[in-house]
């Protein structure tokens, strides 16, 4: 069974703090993704990575950066947290295949509150 683990279930941070959200997967997946989920807006892609040290912007990358130093780990970084980054953050992973039809597997989510 695929396991995607997010290090924190709940986080409370102050405005201006640097925040790290960690995600680890144990299935040797090439692709990893960070989404945020907000009421009425569904899930929106922040960044994704298709290989170690490779990253691509998603639909809402502003205010975020990512790091993929090892294949199993994908970190989301909020350089200077702001209240509008209060959200549920979801990490996912999948294999790479030529036809782009490998299913995504999600972690349990991190609910971040920025005060």
């Amino acid at each position: 069974d695929v396991k995607v683990t997010q290090s924190s279930r709940y986080l409370v941070k102050r405005t201006g703090e640097k925040v790290f959200l960690e995600c680890v997967q144990d299935m040797d997946h090439e692709n990893m993704f960070w989404y945020r989920q907000d009421p009425g807006l569904g899930l929106r892609l922040i960044y994704f990575s298709y290989d170690v040290k490779m990253k691509e912007k998603g639909d809402i990358p502003e205010g975020y950066s990512v790091s993929r130093e090892k294949k199993e780990r994908f970190s989301l970084i909020l350089e200077s947290a702001s209240t509008n980054q209060t959200s549920m953050y979801l990490c996912a992973s999948s294999f790479v295949d030529r036809s782009n039809n490998s299913p995504l597997h999600f972690g349990n989510g991190t609910r971040l509150t920025v005060t």
Partner: protein, 109 residues
Amino acid sequence: GIQVEQSPPDLILQEGANSTLRCNFSDSVNNLQWFHQNPWGQLINLFYIPSGTKQNGRLSATTVATERYSLLYISSSQTTDSGVYFCAVRGGATNKLIFGTGTLLAVQP
């Protein structure tokens, strides 16, 4: 990019009732998944179904790729089925999975 629309936006059922959730998408896709997000926020992979029909217990799904829609059927609903059901698609050369805004299901005892 691909647009994904889900209907209905919310649904209230009595335990034991059946329901059909719909997902329409605006372009051809090579990946379609249905997810259930439980009240604790966990996203559970229900079906990976870019085309055809699959069944898993009381749940089944059908995707008609040529007509750009997918249906999720829930039979004999239970209170544990409550939560948000998301459809998500991926098309073309992109790795991005695009989500619909979900259907909020509440099953009452």
